[in-house]
């Protein structure tokens, strides 16, 4: 399969076994670990020569095993991932790392480790609030992770190895941003579906190999003529863990998804790890303060306020959401589609604010709530009606 290059390799990887390369590496003696969500500092794994791969679901695989253990009134993405774990999809790995990303992940972790145990199991209790005492706590959590990984691999994580890993992952994110730039063109030279698939392939390879793959994809995209006609609506997609084919559905309906704010998307690659400060501090910042996810709570500085005063509502919204306005502007989106996974509480709590904020910025919004396994017909009517509304 490694003979294949660029987007062909991406397609083949996802169509056959996404984790084939990981299994190969495992056979060659490399330590391989699965991780859940965007909050795991992958740099620390890479620094110890561990190959990390992202734990995701499979939107084409019917969830059967998970039904025996997990409720339906929870995140359907996690149910799908858990289902795969119960079907031994991740058994080959040396370990899995979870984080306190949300209530659903915390609870799923409890049963994942019980029913689908791995050799190495770790959980990072990521704080929720951007403030100094939370950062101090998070540093302790990162140090504990370091110790646990070092003990497992019998290796030492030096400052030098960590810096090297940071450089590799920053390069990785830079390449993803470069690819994303092609979506600024009209028509975009790379589709939302291609972008999603490329990211998923990269999250299933060690970072050096992911970087080579990205370079191939970029070269390929650069050399080709745009695929879509120029008059398509340009959509900003907002949502949680969207490794499913929702993007593809929007594009099948005749629009181009040109920018996104989803976990398998900009949230993964928008921000680098700061090169100028101590590596652990830099990771701390990158994985708490700079993380874009509604479960991270940030607000204007309380301490600057006069007694009895609170910050302006607009300042609060700008601090939390102005990047969305920038995305819409820079990528010239003429509409936004919010697709929330039902029971994803942190996103659901933010939804009215996000909707209003985008509409305030003159970006019409289609708000959809659904499952990880997208019901095609029902959503198609809504998406098409929305595109017809943008036509008019």
């Amino acid at each position: 399969m490694q003979d294949l290059k660029g987007l062909k390799r991406v397609e083949t990887m996802l169509r056959t076994d996404r984790l084939a390369r990981m299994k190969e590496l495992k056979k060659e003696g490399r330590t391989v670990m699965g991780y859940m969500c965007c909050f795991v500092p992958l740099e620390m794994l890479t620094a110890l020569d561990i190959a990390p791969f992202r734990l995701i679901g499979d939107c084409e695989e019917v969830t059967t095993e998970a039904d025996k253990y997990l409720e339906t009134i929870m995140c359907s993405f996690l149910r799908s991932a858990f289902d795969l774990a119960m079907k031994k999809t991740f058994d080959f790995a040396d370990g899995v790392i979870f984080t306190h990303s949300c209530d659903s992940v915390v609870k799923t972790w409890e049963y994942w480790r019980y029913f689908a145990p791995n050799q190495f199991e770790w959980y990072i209790n990521v704080p929720h609030i951007v403030k100094a005492s939370s950062e101090r706590f998070f540093t302790k959590e990162l140090l504990r992770l370091q110790k646990a990984l070092e003990a497992y691999t019998h290796k030492e994580m030096t400052n030098e190895s960590l810096r090297k890993a940071i450089r590799l992952h920053n390069r990785n994110r830079q390449l993803m941003r470069n690819l994303n730039e092609f979506r600024k063109e009209n028509p975009p030279r790379v589709s939302g579906a291609e972008m999603r698939k490329t990211l998923l392939a990269c999250m299933s390879l060690p970072v050096e190999e992911a970087n080579s793959l990205l370079e191939e994809v970029i070269a390929e995209v650069k050399a080709r003529v745009p695929l879509a006609p120029p008059d398509r609506h340009r959509i900003l997609l907002y949502g949680p863990e969207m490794d499913n084919d929702f993007v593809d559905l929007v594009e099948e309906c005749g629009a181009s998804v040109v920018i996104d704010d989803v976990c398998i998307g900009t949230r993964y690659y928008a921000k680098d790890v700061d090169w100028g400060i101590e590596p652990l501090d830099a990771l701390n910042r990158r994985y708490l303060e700079q993380m874009v996810c509604p479960r991270v709570y940030r607000r204007p500085d309380e301490n600057k306020l006069a007694p009895g005063e609170t910050y302006e509502r607009q300042d609060d919204l700008d601090l939390r959401l102005s990047y969305l306005r920038d995305y819409a502007e820079d990528w010239k989106a003429d509409g936004a589609i919010m697709y929330l996974l039902r029971y994803c509480d942190s996103h659901e709590f933010d939804a009215p604010d996000v909707r209003d904020y985008l509409q305030e910025a003159k970006v019409p919004v289609l708000f959809l709530e659904g499952d990880y396994m997208v019901t095609k017909e029902q959503n198609k009517t809504r998406i098409q009606a929305f595109l017809e509304m943008l036509d008019a």
Binding site: K68, Y69, L70, E71, I73, M74, C75, H100, C102, D103, S104, V106, K107, T108, W109, E110, Y111, R113, Y114, F115, E121, Y123, N125, P127, H128, I129, K131, S133, S134, R136, F137, K140, R144, P294, R295, Y297, R299, E302, N303, L305, P307, G308, E309, T310, R313, D316, L340, R342, Y343, D345, S346, E348, F349, D350, A351, P352, D353, R355, F367, E369
Partner: protein, 445 residues
């Protein structure tokens, strides 16, 4: 247009067994009225979440607390929850988010639209706050709800980072100190912000006094649960749900301690005289995790009508009888007490390779001699719902008693049918009775 039709209502609240618990709602109402009065007299009111660790600080600062989660349950029990939920949902909030949050957000939205709190709302509604204090403990709604609250209400919002629950499988000895360090730092920040916003210093001696008061209340609350191991059970779950606010929210009030003392004395007398909830207690039920269906508390009376008594619950429990008086900093004392209480049984759970909730249920079944476990899957609560099916699976390894799960919600009666729930309870109680008979015949009881 047709004339207005009169709405017919059916009773959904529970009839209580113990005399003390029958008085609980009066004390809750008194706390609400105190808040309304404080507002009128210009004294500060704060809206709080559970686990913010602010109860003692509020008392010391003469701030009247309103626990907004408690209001959610109260509103549902008084059949006023849906009206508030719908106001919230009309603004685009999903029906899936925390029912308490929807009640609270709906309350504030209507408050903003009307320009006042309507006295016809449950308990007269919540008085306007001078401060709102959320936190990150336990579940996401504790901070996301108050963040969303800013759509309707612009008051200072304090949000301490309270991480007070150890991750499953981690050794508590490695964790206590730095968890406590975080909590103490957060409490100092909350103190500074409260002082700034309220314009006066916090008297730390008073905080220390209230910390002691809280411990006394909570320890008594725990003692009341402990004595419920007796056969027949002296007090059913519905009674404890009425008393819970004093051991869970309003802990720094002397009245709360007195309340539990009275309750304890009543329970002790009942146990001594062998008085149970119903004349013949055929089955003892553990109310497993899942918060109660506040919109249908009569479910417990329904069980009793079938000879089954819910003798203990896994939610709203307090464990810590640890003496934390050796910690001279009152904040540290509060933090240590909280951490030890929240993580009670963690080591035992680790030994079983389980999470603390399931592990506790396994112990309760044994300690409270239960014949069945009923779990309530809540459509709007991830934290107390995910894992119920898995727990039932795990519990099979420890006991032969049946475990059931039914789905509805803490607030939202639109999610379930009482008739359907009752049908399922009937079938479950039959299974539990057969299993109990089997164990009796086999000499296991």
């Amino acid at each position: 247009m047709a004339e207005e039709k009169k709405v017919v209502k059916v009773k959904t609240t529970a009839d209580k067994s113990t005399e003390t618990s029958k008085k609980a709602h009066l004390l809750v109402r008194k706390y609400y009225h105190e808040a309304a009065q404080a507002l009128q007299e210009g004294r500060p009111v704060a809206w709080l979440m559970a686990s913010t660790l602010c109860e003692e600080m509020c008392r010391a600062m003469d701030v009247t607390p309103i626990y907004t989660e408690n209001f959610g349950g109260t509103a549902a029990a008084m059949q006023g929850g849906i009206m508030l939920c719908e106001a919230c949902e009309a603004d685009g909030f999903s029906m899936g988010i925390c029912g308490y949050a929807r009640v609270g957000l709906g309350h504030s939205k209507l408050r903003q639209e009307l320009g006042r709190v309507d006295p016809s709302w449950p308990n007269g509604g919540m008085a306007d706050p001078d401060l709102i204090i959320g936190c990150s403990a336990g579940c996401e709604p504790r901070y996301k709800w108050y963040q969303a609250q800013r759509r309707y209400q612009q008051v200072p919002f304090l949000c301490p980072e309270i991480l007070d629950t150890y991750p499953v499988g981690m050794d508590p000895d490695d964790l206590e100190d730095y968890y406590v360090e975080l909590l103490v730092a957060e409490m100092y920040e909350t103190k500074a912000l409260m002082e700034k916003h309220l314009g006066k210093k916090m008297d730390m001696d008073k905080v220390a006094e209230y910390a002691e008061q809280s411990e006394r209340t909570r320890n008594l609350y725990w003692k009341c649960d402990e004595i419920r191991r007796a056969v027949p059970g002296p007090m059913p779950v519905e009674d404890m749900l009425s008393c819970m606010p004093f051991g869970f929210f309003y802990t720094a009030f002397k009245e709360s301690e007195d309340f539990f003392q009275e309750l304890y004395d009543e329970l002790a007398a009942r146990v001594k005289n062998g008085v149970g909830v119903i004349p013949e207690e055929k089955l003892r039920i553990l109310w497993g995790w899942g918060l109660p269906p506040w919109h249908y508390l009569r479910i417990f009376n329904y069980l009793e009508s079938k000879g089954a008594v819910a003798v203990m619950q896994e939610c709203y429990t307090n464990f810590c009888a640890d003496d934390c008086s050796q910690y001279s900093d009152p904040f540290e004392r509060i933090a240590r007490y909280q951490i030890r209480c929240r993580n009670h049984g963690h080591k035992e759970a680790n030994a079983r390779h389980l999470g603390v909730d399931v592990s506790r249920m396994i112990s309760y079944v044994e300690d409270y001699k239960c014949d069945g476990v009923i779990q309530h899957a809540l459509v709007s609560c991830r934290q107390r719902t995910i894992g119920q099916i898995a727990s039932a699976e795990i519990m099979k390894k420890y006991s032969t008693i049946p475990v059931m799960s039914f789905q509805s919600d803490l607030v939202d009666e639109r999610t379930a049918s009482q008739a359907e729930i009752n049908q399922r309870l009937d079938a479950f109680l039959e299974v539990a009775a057969v299993e109990k008979e089997r164990r009796q015949k086999a000499g296991l009881l």
